[in-house]
């Protein structure tokens, strides 16, 4: 680590000013669960840290008009404990889905500190949040000196630790669609240990029609790829099939054939990560079916 100045703005504007003032040497800090590791190893050494913890506007959750707005500094704990979404009357089961995903991330100590926005901005392929937010088709509100813009998930996540954020900008809200109709979601991951991030992960969202046929779907792969990646071929294959009769094995074979793993770790190679996909997509599909 290196010595740094620690700023604690109380409002969004103040925070934006602080971040924009000397952007190259300033970093926002949310829960610190990723940033502190980089500071400790001196991989990064910003002279100023701007804590977002005290900015009330960034920690709010609200719902209505078919969407749920999640403040970036909402912690995993607040979601896992049911606190964050308690007052939201969501018309779909999307809050339940996000809660299931988030309650399974890391361990209690990490969940107490880590935030949804922090994980999104960190944009590591192994993390669950980018994959989950992509499969629910979230939008990302980015605030900067010139105002606020909205970015879709597939534009927000650009690569390993790369997002659409420019220097001096802050993620100010995550907008999760709360769609009408019968959407169901499933997520499955495989890490080495219980608290490890994923070697491979698969998220799945399907909408079925009155005859339980897949009308519309998204399949997103994480872990082995540089950014959350849609498996369009499998999605097309799934359309029109009755959800209860989808042959999971076939879907798995297709997914493993479609996805080209880009990332191997120091220990687990690409081939192994790819070989996990059939089991993961089957588990995700089962979850989506069970939720229906």
């Amino acid at each position: 680590m290196r010595p740094f100045e620690y700023l604690t703005p109380a409002g969004l504007e103040e925070a934006l000013e602080a971040v924009a003032e000397r952007p190259e040497e300033t970093a926002p800090i949310a829960g610190g669960q990723s940033l502190l590791l980089e500071l400790k190893s001196r991989e990064r050494a910003p002279a100023r840290l701007v804590s977002l913890a005290g900015v009330e506007a960034l920690g709010a959750v609200s719902g209505g008009h078919g969407e749920i707005r999640v403040g970036p500094t909402v912690t995993y704990r607040a979601i896992a404990d049911g606190e964050a979404f308690a007052a939201i009357a969501s018309r779909s089961a999307v809050t339940g889905f996000l809660t299931r995903v988030i309650a399974n991330i890391a361990d209690r100590a990490v969940r107490t500190m880590a935030t949804v926005g922090g994980a999104a901005c960190q944009a590591e392929p192994a993390f669950d949040i980018p994959v989950a937010l992509t499969v629910v088709d979230a939008g990302f509100e980015v605030a900067g000196a010139s105002g606020t813009r909205r970015v879709a998930a597939h534009e927000f996540f650009r690569g390993v630790k790369q997002t659409a954020l420019e220097q001096g900008e802050l993620l100010s809200a995550i907008v999760v669609p709360d769609p009408a109709g019968s959407w169901r979601w499933g997520f499955a991951k495989q890490g080495m240990r219980a608290h490890d991030a994923a070697l491979s992960s698969v998220a799945l969202a399907v909408r079925v029609d009155g005859e339980s046929r897949v009308e519309c779907c998204r399949i997103v792969v994480g872990g082995a790829v540089k950014r959350p990646s849609r498996a369009y071929g499998c999605e097309t294959w799934l359309i029109g099939r009755p959800i209860g009769e989808v042959e999971a094995e076939k879907l798995g074979e297709r997914l493993a054939a479609e996805v080209v793993p880009e990332l191997g770790g120091a220990r687990f190679g690409r081939e192994y990560r790819r070989s996990l996909l059939p089991a993961l997509v089957r588990r995700a599909l089962e979850e989506a079916r069970d939720e229906g």
Partner: protein, 817 residues
Amino acid sequence: MSVAADRATGESLIGRSLPRREDLALLTGTAVFVDDMRPAGLLHARILRSPHAHARIRRIDLEPARRLPGVVDVFCGADVERSVEPWGDLTQDILTGDRIAFARDKAVYQGQEVAVAVAETKWQAEDAIEAIEVDYEPLEPLVDPEQAMQPDAPVIQDGVDYEGGVGNAYDASYRIRVGDFEFARDEADVVVRARFTTGCSGAAALEPHACLADYNPSSGKLTFHSATQMVHPLRDGLSKALHLPRTQVRVVAPFVGGGFGSKGDVFPWEVITAVASIRTGRPVRCVLSRREVFETVPGRGRQVRYAELAMRADGTITAYGERVIFACGGVSAWGNQILRIGTQIGMLPYAIPNIHVDGFAVHTNTGPAGPVRGFGVPEAIFAKEQLVDMAATELGLDPVEVRLRNVLHGDDCPTVTPLGQRVDSTSIDRCLERAAEAIDRSEAEDVGVGFAVCMKYTSARHPSLDSDLASVRIVLETDGTVSVFSGDSPHGQGHGTTVAQVVADALGVGVEKVRVTSSDTETCPFSLGTWGSRGGAILGTAARMAAERVRAKLIELAAHILETAPEELEVAEDRVRFVGMPGTGLFIQNLVLLAAYATHQLPEGFEPGPIQAQATYDTPTERERSDGTGNLSPTYSAAAHAARVEVDRETGRWRVLDYVMAHDTGVIINPLIVEGQHQGAFLHGYAMVFGEEVRWGEDGAVANAGFKEYFAPSAADLPSLHPTIEVPAPSTVIPGGQKGAGESATAPVAATIANALQAATGVRFCSLPIMPDDVKRALVESERRGAPIVYPRDMPDYDGPTEWPEPEEFDDLELID
């Protein structure tokens, strides 16, 4: 039951699960570790380490660092050449000359010490080492020990002469020769063999290594706090390296956050920190980062074993042969000791009549190898217990039956094995029966059950160290309380509780009256330290001996005052009383007061002053003989484990459904503490299979120097354990009957799980750890070949006594078609 009630009944304190006295401080966060100490004027040291695994050091420029703010001192090997000498030769026959403070001309592993900066803050010290300029000439790194043994391999420690060394095999002389191995093998009905490798579990104690040196320039005395497992050997090593008289060096260990063997040495950073304090005249602290711990602190070391086992058709093991190669890293540290003791003890619990072992401790350009829980025994058991299963399978015998035929039997004890191990008592036969009864052996798809047995030494007379002792001093205070100065250096074992139980029991006082001080060379008598499962048995015996000496004095004094014969008296209820008569006699407190304040009342010849005694227990063990035989341990604990394991063919993950441990730990002083030791020891064995392994790339750089990629299992990754089945066979050598408790549950775990995996999948896993991608690859390859394989490498047919054929490598596999 309260302690007071027991004092009245006089019931023994041995075998009682008293809660650990250490826990209050630990649970309330008031325990002080080295990093919590705040002496005035404290400086911080950061060490510059070699980024290369093997490199000549052409030039070091410290000047840019010296100019930085807050920097008080910067130095490297050239600056301390004359004031610091290499260490490691305190003991006999240990290979020395390569334990040095700083790499001088050549760095031999990544992370080796090159220079140090001392500054007012940690960050300034860190800035300073970043500013040091070093000109390295990288050399070819030797990472693979078998390659390092090739005749044309460059010699890593080219400036040091090792007796009995050949090239990088600095100890090439380890041999076990028992019986007629070749004859027995030729006569056998089945011979099985395989090449086994075990990975280097690292030093993964929660507290990283840390020390704080405080040199007082006016008195010339160095007070040295360290997270160490052995204060006296460290004091002696430091004094020798620094040319200081031992009166001028005091080593203290405050609370230590685990060690598991890895804190039992004299380390370069300890010597460097001491020098820094002497040079600056101020207290200096050095705390290693996690990265530094993984790179430079000795881990288990990698072992390669070409092993074979011969069996008669009735299941009798007739011969065992091994060629063992131990990758010891760049310096010799403890490596060859682990090879020797681990291999020898690893032959138990069988009395194998014909044994042929060739062992080689080999330098590689990797971090040094040292003791980690089990001291080589788990590695030996991993190979041998799998070969037992392989032979049993070929003969169509049941793995439990075959082991029951071969293990030592309690009824035959004491017995001496052909290897010279005198086993005083054992219940390993009963343990195995109990474990087999307790595990569910029913068949299910992708589920297998495996067994393994082991014995573990209870302390040992090391080949390098002709001593196996511990010492305790006891002083009775004038209020009847008891001060115990215990020589060993506990770091989680609960000596403060266990030793108090032993002393209170022998003195007939309440355990709350006894206070145990450990880990301070100024107050505690010389001992070898805490390692090798020695606390309960060796230290416990010294405590009992010292307490009995004090007791004899009390009884002599009381007999005089009460005008009775000593035989009429006993200690109980804080008194010396008439045998079997509660409430009679004299309080111990009054006797101690007499000796201090009313000396005319003492009997003739009774030494006035504090009533005290010191005792040392040195075990009745032998030195290792040149054929590898000898009784290195006074007594042997034993374990039989059984695992029921399920394999997920899709992901290659395995899961322990059920795990049974049956143990012989002799007489147990504190069952609660021993159960904790067994569970912790199991975790260490499990970790070896699960994923713990320091991995060096071809360039000799550590690929996973942090807990993110060093896969230490967490609580959530462990199976839930049954309470251990204890089948006590009290030691007949150790006076109180105790046996070692700290490591017996580590040794059989890897073999047990590997045997269960084989039963579940047909694949014989010969390499540790066994990770999901390994399992997946092995299953895919088995399917491709249409027959179960040996993983990771198949051993072709073998037909020579010492020549091993080159194993065949698999191609990279497509894991799904």
